[in-house]
């Protein structure tokens, strides 16, 4: 069996503040296979965003291991984590998080500015990514605030793809879209999955979660596994 792309074991995340300690994640263990489409669901405050931040190397766990394509990212320092984010992870955010001062093409090229790729190569890669999400060529020079919500999310997906990442992490990607546009975005994810991309998607919407190969739900910082037939198992399943 192929090595998991994501393999996290015994992850705990505890936040310290003046008010005391907040134990947000408890002994999280799960893995994602290459090419799998996994949805993480849970109510507000369940810890899913914290888990997403750890998966995306924006945060480090208090304890436990996190192997991303075999690399133990839990032990990396800040600059190393930045490099992992630039080369192995693609983010898609709920509110798109595109830079309004920049054109569509410049937004998609942005992750590559933090690699050694020369500019002409970056432009080529950005154009390929935009073609993959089906954005018309005449939109490439537009400012992102001139686009519709669906188009902006497609640009955001192209930006997530441009560095050919190991995983795409999508945080409520359809949250700010109408149902029709949201459907289009999910179809884009399916197309990417068909090309072999590994996708981890956070959503509170059960209909969106049902699009995934596998659902994991998180409640009170603990993980529960469900497959698409509705069978629930606790932490440790899904491999």
């Amino acid at each position: 069996m192929a090595r998991p792309v994501i393999d996290i074991r015994g992850i705990h995340r505890i936040f310290e503040s003046d008010a005391g300690f907040a134990h947000v994640l408890h002994n999280i263990t799960f893995s994602v296979r290459p090419g799998e489409f996994v949805a993480i669901t849970g109510p507000s405050g369940s810890g899913k965003s914290t888990l997403m931040n750890i998966l995306g190397c924006l945060d480090t766990p208090t304890s436990g291991t996190y192997l991303l394509e075999g690399l133990n990212v839990a032990e990396l320092v800040d600059d190393e984590l930045a490099e992992v984010r630039a080369t192995r992870i693609g983010f898609v955010f709920q509110s798109f998080n595109l830079l309004p001062r920049m054109s569509v093409l410049d937004n998609v090229m942005l992750p590559l500015a933090y690699t050694q790729a020369p500019r002409f190569q970056r432009e080529m890669m950005a154009v390929h990514a935009l073609q993959a999400v089906g954005l018309p060529v005449d939109h490439y020079d537009h400012r992102t605030n001139e686009l519709s919500g669906g188009q902006m999310q497609r640009v955001a997906i192209a930006r997530a793809l441009v560095n050919d990442p190991a995983i795409i992490l999508a945080d409520e990607p359809t949250g700010n879209l109408d149902s029709h546009t949201g459907r289009m975005v999910l179809e884009t994810f399916h197309k990417l999955k068909d090309t072999g991309k590994t996708i981890v998607l956070i959503t509170h919407d059960s209909h969106v979660a049902a699009e995934a190969d596998r659902i994991v739900s998180i409640r009170d910082g603990r993980l529960y596994h469900e497959d698409t037939s509705g069978i629930i198992s606790t932490t440790g399943g899904g491999r």
């Binding site: 924006l58 600059d79 930045a82 630039a86 080369t87 998080n97 001062r101 500015a113 500019r119």
Partner: protein, 405 residues
Amino acid sequence: MNARDLLREAVRALEANKGRSLLTILGIVIGIASVIAMTSLIGGVRNNLVSGLGLNAARLVYISAASTMNQDTVDDLKAVMPSYEAIEGTAMSYTQKKVNDKDISISITGASNQYYEMTGQLKLVEGRLFSQQEESADARVCIIERNGIKMLFGDPQASVVGRTVELDGRDYLIVGVSESQYPSEDYMQAYFPMGTVLNDFNQGDEYLSQVIGLVREGEDVDAVMSETITKLATIMGYSEDEAQDMIYCYSMKSSIDSLNSFMMSFQLIMGAVAGISLLVGGIGIMNMMLTNVTERIREIGIRRALGATRRDITAQFLTESAALCVTGGIIGTIAGFAIAWGLATVASSMDLTSSMGTSGVITPLISPQTILLAVGLSIGIGLVFGYYPARRAAKLDPVECLRYQ
């Protein structure tokens, strides 16, 4: 991020807030303009003095006496004053010449080549100085000023070296042309060997109009002047009491020292203005960059999520700060030169340096060093005052930034 990308991002950021950027850099503009105006104006004044007075100006001593001096007096003084590198006399006269019904006034100066070289009075543009043979033979040769060409020959572009000019019924061979000290339509200067003037224009009178000494480098000019009075009094037969009344020495040094002192005061004042402006400007830059950081917290989070390191964020904001200051520096440099030109024009019209024997026209000095100073200062201010906001931006937690509304 590479340098080109950083610059591109910086320009994009400045363009997004043109009005605010312009207001912020005002302090930098004023500070740099002050520095440029001061250095280029002072450089221009110094150049004016050096070109007008010659490099030796501070070491020249003008010697005059109640009774007249001749070449023997000069030779006797040379023998007892080793502190002088050279002592030369000059004989002056005056004549008029009618050319095409127009009267031309000609000031006649007779002196040795050494006199002309040590005073820098004669700036050759064509031809040569007198030969030793011509000096010894009191030859009828001369050097005329450039403005005299048109007056004497009708065509200002005429080539006159090798031609003759008739003065007081005598023909003089023109061997050289010099810059015009005081350009005029009906007045010119002509230079001759000393003996030629004494014989032809002063009716054989041996007496010198002026004696000038060049003090050796390292000697105290004031002490040499004092000694000159004493020694010359002895040579001319004056008593100690009479010496101070009968013999007078003057040096440009005191005037130059006064001017230097004035320029230093001017420099201090302008430097204070520049320093305060740059400090205020720098604080304004820091304030604007801190505001930028706050406004772009979410952008910082996005960039960090996409792979920017803390160093990338620091470099980005530092580049923006430096670009802002360099823009201010460029505007300030242009404004500074304009101010210098304006002040130079006013000073020239007031003829401030003519009392020191130079032409009143002052040209501000525009040198690569001055421009480099402006650019260097601008970049330095941008980096110093932009560092704190840049580090603040870099230390922000990306998760918190992405949550920021």
